[in-house]
Amino acid sequence: MDRRSFMLGTAAGALLLSAKGLAFAQEAAGTAPDLASFPRNETLIIHNPEGVIRNPAWFNNWVVGSGSGISNGLHQLNTDTFWFIDPDAGIEGASENAIYNSLADGLWEYNEDFTEMTVKLKKGIFWSDGVEFTADDVVFTVEKHKATPGLSQNGAYNAQVETVEAVDPYTVHFTLKGSNSRFHTLFSVRWTGAWIMPKHVFEGVEDILSFPNDPPVSLGPYTLHSFDPNGTWYIWQKREDWQRTALGMIGEPKPRFIIYRNNISADNRLIEMRNGNLDMVHDLSPEATFSIVQQDPEVQGWFPGFPYAHPDPTLVMAIPNHQNPKFQDKRVRWALALMLDARAMSMASYRGAATLSAISVPPTGTHPRDYHAPLQDFLINYEVDTGTRKVKPYDPNIGMQIADMVRGQFGDAVPTDATAIRNAFGYGWWKQDVAAAEELLTAAGFSKQGNQWMMPDGQPFAFRVMVPTDGVINRLGSIIAQTWAQNGIGAEVEAASDTWDRQRVGNYDVNIAWAVESWGGHPDLSFFLDSYHSEYVVEPGASQPDRNWMRWKDPRLDEIIEKIRASDFNDPKGIEYGHEFVKLHLEEMPNIPIMAYNVFSVQSNRYWTGWPNAEKPYANPVTNWSNGRYIFTQITPKA
C-alpha cells in the first residue's frame, strides 16, 4: 500500500467511525419523520425559546430539574389541569373574565372560610391511550406529590393540602391545612400550572424520579410523533379522538402536526422565518422585528404598527434594597424616580417600543381597563411633597411624546390615535424633575458637594445597579445608572450572570428586574402581591421568597393583602383592594415601576392566518406559554 492509499483509507475509516459514534450516541432517537408527509397547510412550525434540551427523551415533567423540555409542546399540547387564566382577554364565549374551565366543569367551590375546595370535573375526557380521566387521577397526583420530595408540587401540596378525596369519579374534594382563598390558582395555568398525572401509568412505577415517561400518555389533543435525540425539535400529531380532550371541547385544533424547534439563535430565527421555516417566533430583538415586518408583509407583531411587541403581564422596575440603609427613606426613593427620564429609558431599552407604567400593575391584558384608565385622574392630581413645595409629577402625555419621537423613523407605522398610543406606549409616567428630586434629597438630610450627593452621614451617595449581562434589561439599567450619575449620584452598572441568585438573598443595592407579575387577563393581584406580606420578609443574606425582592414591609400593605386573602378571587372588591395597593405603593415608592416586559413575538401569515393581536387579543402569542394552546383552535391554513 502506498502512502496515498494509506491516507485515503485512514480518512474513510475515520469518517465511518465518526458516523458510527454519532449514530451510537443518538440511539435514543425515535422514528425519523418523513418531511414530505408534513404538508405546510397541515403543519405548524413554532420556535421554542428553550436552549438545547439536555434530557431530550425525558417527558416526566413532574420531576423538578430533570432537564426535560417544557415549552417544546409538552405543556402546550400534552398536559392539562383544571383552569387556565389568559394573560390577555381569552376567547369570547369559551372563557369568562379570561378564565377557561379546562378539566374542571365549572369554577372552584370553596366553603365559607376557604378551608375546603370542591372541583367538578368534565365528563368524557380521555387520555390518549383510551383510559378515561377521572377524579382518581387528581387524587393520585396530589398524594404522589405529597409523598415524593423532588416532584414539582411536593412543597405546595404538603404546605396546603390536608386531604384530597374523590367524592365520585367526577368530583374532587380538598381539605386544606388553613384558610386559602387562592388555593385554586395552583391549578390555574398562567404560563404553567400543576398538571394532572395519568394514574394508570404512574401507579406501577417504583421510582418516579427516574422514570422518563417516554412516550408520554397525553391528556391534550396531540401526542408525541418524534423528536431529536440532540434535543432541538419535537413533532406532535393530532389525536384521532381530539374531541375527547378539554381543548377539543372548545374547538378543533387545526394543525395536524405541530413542530416545536428550539436552540435557534436570534439571527437564524430571522432567516428561518423569512425562508418559511417558522410560523411563530417567540422573540426577536427590537431591531430584528422592525426589519422583518418592513421586509416581509406576511409577518405581523402584536400591534399592527410600531411598537409591534406583546407586553407580557410582567413589570420591569428599579428595585432598591430596603435592607440597605441608603434606601430606607421614601423621599430618597421618590428622588431617584424623579431623576429618571422615561423617554430616554424607552429609547435606550426598546428603541422606543416600550409600554410604560407609572403604577405597580403591568400595563397589559385587561389591567389598563381595571387600573390604569380609572386611576388616571388620581395620578394627574397626585402630589409629592418635596419638603419645600408640592409638585404634581405625573405626565399623562409621555406616551404621545415617545410616539412623536419614533415617528420620524417609522412613519405611518406609528399610531396617531390617542387610545392606540396609550395601549402601545402606556398611559404616562413621571416627568423628569431634577429640581424636585434635589429638594427631596435635601429634605432627607442629603447635601451636595460639587456634583456629588452626600448622605446624611457625610459619605458619598453611591451604589451599584445590578443588571443581567445582556438584553433590554441590561440596556435599561445602563441608562438608569447613567442618568443618576449625571445628576450627582455615584451609580455604577454591575452586569451579573447570577442576578436571580443574588436578588433572592438581597445581595444587591438596586436591581433592575421585575417584582410584579400578574394574571394579565384577570384583575386579581394575588399572583405577586400575596408574597409581599411582611411574614415572608427574611433577614439580610437569607433567601427571600419570590417577588418581594426589595423586602418592603408595611403594616398597611399587610392589611390590604389580608383583605384580598379573605375575599373570593372573582369578588369585584378585588379591584378596589388593588387600587388601595397602587395608592400605597405611590406613597411609599418601594420600587420604581417602569415598563412592561415587552416580547417581540412575531407570526407569519404565509401558511397560517388568524393569529391573536392587539385588535383581537384572544390569546398570548408568546410561544412558550402553555396558554398559547388556544391559538391552535383559532388559526386556519391560508387558502
Binding site: 458516523a19 454519532l22 414539582s152 405546595a156 439571527d267 437564524n268 399572583f527
Partner: protein, 334 residues
C-alpha cells in the same frame, strides 16, 4: 533504553499530577461559584407559576437534600474522588438524575467530528502552503495567499461565521444553517445519515477553516524562512541534493517540530468545544453543554466536561513529550 524509560516514568508522574491538580482546581472553582443549582431550579420552577413562599421553602429543602449541596465542601470533594475512581461523575444537576457523563458522551462525537476534522484539515493545508510560501518568498501565488491569510486572520470569528450564515442561509440558501443532521434522517450507519452530517457540517467547518488557516500558514512561513537560511540547507544545496528532498526532508521536517507541538495542543483543546460555532450554527457539541453547566451551577456536568478536557490536553502533551525524542534527535541527545 534505561534512560528513555526513566524519561517516560517522570513524564507519567507529571501527567498524573497535572490531571489531579487540574481536576481538583476545577472542583473548588465550580463549588466556589456563586451560582447555586438549587436556586437555579427553583427560579425556573417558581418564576412563572403560583407557588407560595412555604412551597418554595419546602422544595428548596428537598432539592438541597437530593443534590447533596448542603454537605461541607470537603465531604463533597472526598465523595467526588471516590465516585470518580469508580468512573462515576455523578448525576447532572440540570438534567437530574441523568449521569453527567451521559450528557458528555452524547455531545462529544459532534465536537470531535467537527473540530478534529477541521483542525487537521487546516493544519495540513496551512502548513503545506506556509512551507511553500516560506521556501518561495518571491512567488506571487504564495504572496497572495499570505495577504489573504493576514487579511482573514484578524477578523473576529463571529463575523466570519455570520457572513457565511447570511450568504449560504439567506442570500443563496443552499446549505442548512441549523442542527447536526436533517429532521427526516434517522441516525444510523447509513450513507444518508453520513451525507446529512457532512452537509450540516459544511458551514461550521468552513468558518473554522477560514479563520484557523491563517495562523498555521503564517507560522509555518516564518519558520521555513528561518530554516532555509540554516547552514545544513545551504550545504545540502551545494552538495547537489535534490530540491524536493531539501524541501521535504530538511526544511519542512525541521520546521514542523514546533508546529506538531502546537497541533497536539490544538487537538487537546478540541475537547473543550467551540461555543461560538455551536451558537451561530445551532450545532450540537460540548461547548454549549459546558456553558449550560456553568450557567445552571451544575458542578457535576462542568466537572465531567473539564475532567475529559484536562485529561485530553494532558495526554496530548504527554504523547508529544514522548514523541519528541523520536522525531528530533537533538532532544534525544539532551
Amino acid at each position: 533504553m534505561h534512560g528513555y524509560f526513566w524519561f517516560v516514568g517522570k513524564r507519567l508522574l507529571q501527567l498524573l499530577a497535572v490531571i489531579f491538580c487540574g481536576i481538583s482546581a476545577t472542583f473548588f472553582i465550580t463549588h466556589l461559584s456563586p451560582i447555586d443549582p438549587v436556586e437555579q431550579v427553583l427560579g425556573r420552577l417558581s418564576a412563572r407559576s403560583n407557588l407560595s413562599p412555604e412551597a418554595i421553602a419546602a422544595t428548596r429543602a428537598a432539592l438541597t437534600e437530593m443534590y447533596g449541596t448542603g454537605q461541607p465542601i470537603l465531604t463533597q470533594y472526598l465523595n467526588f474522588w471516590t465516585r470518580l475512581l469508580r468512573g462515576d461523575l455523578g448525576p447532572s444537576l440540570l438534567a437530574f438524575p441523568t449521569p453527567s457523563m451521559e450528557l458528555v458522551t452524547r455531545a462529544m462525537p459532534w465536537t470531535l467530528g467537527l473540530l478534529v476534522t477541521s483542525t487537521l484539515f487546516t493544519f495540513v493545508i496551512g502548513n503545506l502552503l506556509g512551507a511553500l510560501a516560506g521556501y518561495h518568498p518571491e512567488n506571487r501565488f504564495f504572496q497572495a495567499f499570505g495577504l489573504i491569510a493576514m487579511g482573514v486572520q484578524p477578523i473576529p470569528y463571529y463575523i466570519v461565521a455570520f457572513i457565511l450564515l447570511i450568504i449560504f442561509g439567506f442570500l443563496w440558501p443552499v446549505l442548512p444553517i441549523s442542527g447536526g443532521f436533517a429532521m427526516d434522517v434517522r441516525p444510523a450507519m447509513s450513507w444518508q445519515f453520513i451525507f446529512s452530517i457532512l452537509q450540516h457540517s459544511i458551514l461550521p467547518a468552513l468558518s473554522l477553516v477560514l479563520v484557523g488557516f491563517g495562523g498555521w500558514f503564517l507560522g509555518m512561513r516564518a519558520l521555513v524562512s528561518n530554516v532555509v537560511n540554516e547552514d545544513y540547507v545551504t550545504y545540502a544545496g551545494l552538495a547537489g541534493v535534490k530540491k524536493q528532498t531539501i524541501v521535504g526532508g530538511y526544511v519542512i521536517r525541521n520546521a514542523l517540530v514546533p508546529q506538531l507541538t502546537a497541533l497536539a495542543m490544538a487537538l487537546g483543546g478540541v475537547f473543550s468545544g467551540t461555543v461560538i460555532t455551536e451558537q451561530v450554527f445551532n450545532y450540537p457539541g460540548i461547548g454549549s453543554l459546558l456553558i449550560d453547566g456553568v450557567n445552571y451551577g451544575d458542578y457535576s456536568l462542568v466537572l465531567a466536561v473539564s475532567t475529559v478536557s484536562i485529561t485530553a490536553v494532558a495526554l496530548a502533551i504527554f504523547i508529544v513529550d514522548l514523541l519528541h525524542p523520536l522525531l528530533d534527535p537533538r532532544v534525544r541527545t539532551e
